[in-house]
Amino acid sequence: MKRILLSLGLVFLVLGCGSKKLTEIPVGFIGPLTGDAANYGKLSLQAVQIALDEINAQGGIGGLPVKLYVEDDEGKPEKANAAFEKLYGVNKIYGFVGPMFSSCALAIAPKAQAAKVVMISQSATHKDVTSKGDFIFRNVLSDQLQAEVFGRYVAEKLGIKKVAILYIKNDYSQGLAMDFKRVFEASGGQVVAVETGVQGDKDFKTQLTKIKEAQPEALYIPNYVAEMAQILEQAKQLGLNVKILSADGFSNPEIFALAKDLANGVIFSNSADESGMKNPLRENFVKLYREKYGEDPDAFAQNAYDAFKVLLLALKNAYETSGGVIDRTKVRDFLLNLRGYQGVSGVITFLPSGDAIKNVGIYVADAKKKTYNQIAVYKVENNQLVEVK
């Protein structure tokens, strides 16, 4: 009897919470605001604040103000955990933008999923992030999609048939290498050697000697800059004169200081730079951002702005269709059904996995000018590589 009363009480309690009239719409932001990576977090938060001001100037959602709760994770998973606990437990948020790093995103995605809080990361690229559940989204190119496009590009557009891979045993490098191998082989290519290293390794000669024996036409090195500089150097020393292919890790200009001329001509994939394509929304946003903060938003800040905008749309929709309350699953469903949203970072459509469909840019490094030139933009449609003009 006691037990039944208790459960009834619990049911009423839950219902009571659910139907409590809202006085504000609480949403969150988690990102590194202090520490080494503070600059990433700061730029994104400023973008989110612009979106916040816009919605509140328009009267918020259903007449209620949107309230932004900001938490600093310093780029550390344990801090991100605490940040989420607070945002969910105390502030009762319905969704949030962030965290920025894959490690933080991987740490709290299962919690957000369990709590049915929509999470949209503007920069966590690790492929497993969105597999933590259907409440987890990202508005950035995933490592997997990057490899999907690049694997096809190398086989179909570059016409390279034999590739060797040298990757570092960490989540980023290994994930890209394995996805690339699968796609490249499915596209008719042959991976003639797969060698590995450990982060911090300086000597890759043994692996490169083996790779040279396998006689590839190109070498794919989806690693971080320090290791890639070593590999470029030692490949040349061993007389391994093949085309070098890489991934977004190569887009850090530090490579030009470490590898000098050897970085020249390296072909790699990264999020497409669509700034050459006309987008009045972005031009407007950048102008507003610059006026307000005296600096330019980076790519992640643009992603964050759009992520927050679509989150607000989803909340508005859920609030209006549920009559004054917010049904958490409706927020998620809205995002899953969102098609072709025009944002400052481009067009947003989420896959059922929660990944945003993004275009992938193909770049060539120019060591003389220390810049990267985008040579083409691609996307995958119906299992086909399609060039975006």
Binding site: K169, E195, T196, G197, V198, D201, K202, D203, K205, T206, Q207, T209, K210, K212, E213, A226, A229, Q230, E233, Q234, K236, Q237, L238, G239, E254, A257, L258, K260
Partner: protein, 309 residues
Amino acid sequence: MALFHLSWSEIGQHVVNGITLGSIYALIALGYTMVYGILKFINFAHGEILMMGAYAGYFFYMALNGEGVSSLSLFLFLLAMIGSMLVSATLGVIVEKLAYKPLRTAPRLAPLLSAIGVSIILSNLAAFLFGTKSKRLDYPFPNETILLGNVAITPHQILIVVSALVLMVALKLFVDYSKLGKAMRATSQNMNVAKLMGINTDFIISLTFAIGSALAAAAGMLVALEIKIYPTMGTLAGLKAFVAAVFGGIGNITGAMIGGVLLGVIETFGVAVLGIPQGLRDTVAFTILIFVLLFRPSGLLGKKEKEKV
């Protein structure tokens, strides 16, 4: 015909790579072995002295030559190397005076811990002063690969082997034939008796640290060309060289040279032939260390010492 699954050109390549790596180990191992020979103590800060030498060499070379290669570059590089050897020698002597000398009569554990402390202080100091980003030291010559059949050799590898050989032979001649060398050997045999015979053993110890540190600096600059310069660059190189010194017979200069080269070759082949996974590469050296300690604690060329009671 091939050894296991390797082709001849692959074997040739591994030999070249192994000998180059081993020459570096040998050069660093000399510092360990000299200090051990005299003080019966392992200077675990030796790798960090190498790192400091590499930074000093980098700044000297940038000041003398800057970026780019001219016909004078190799000469300026060797000049910068001499400068960095002087800096490291001074640093080695300072460390000895401050951190080891006061502990000379303390239990054996004390100077060992002090050495570990010094190594941590030096690498953190370097991170504080120079930052944690790697610095690139440019090759002082066009480092174009020379192909012998299918085996690639670079001028840099030749420079490493030649410099190591010259420095090692010079050291060997110095220790075996000069008066100071004789005093060093006397001090290592019995410090007290040497003192009674009128040898300034404090000076000899400082000299030993200076020479060992200078050789480390030279090795530091030679590897820096390829692996870049960063605050923790000396740690693993130092440990490996320590293994090389024990392998060859610690306290024995010829042993350190042979141990170093052998270690480099075994490590390279271990990974290639036995298919040791990359992540376990560094364990090759330490597995050798364990076996040497188990079966031949005095190393390849070491003499068995009777424990004095």
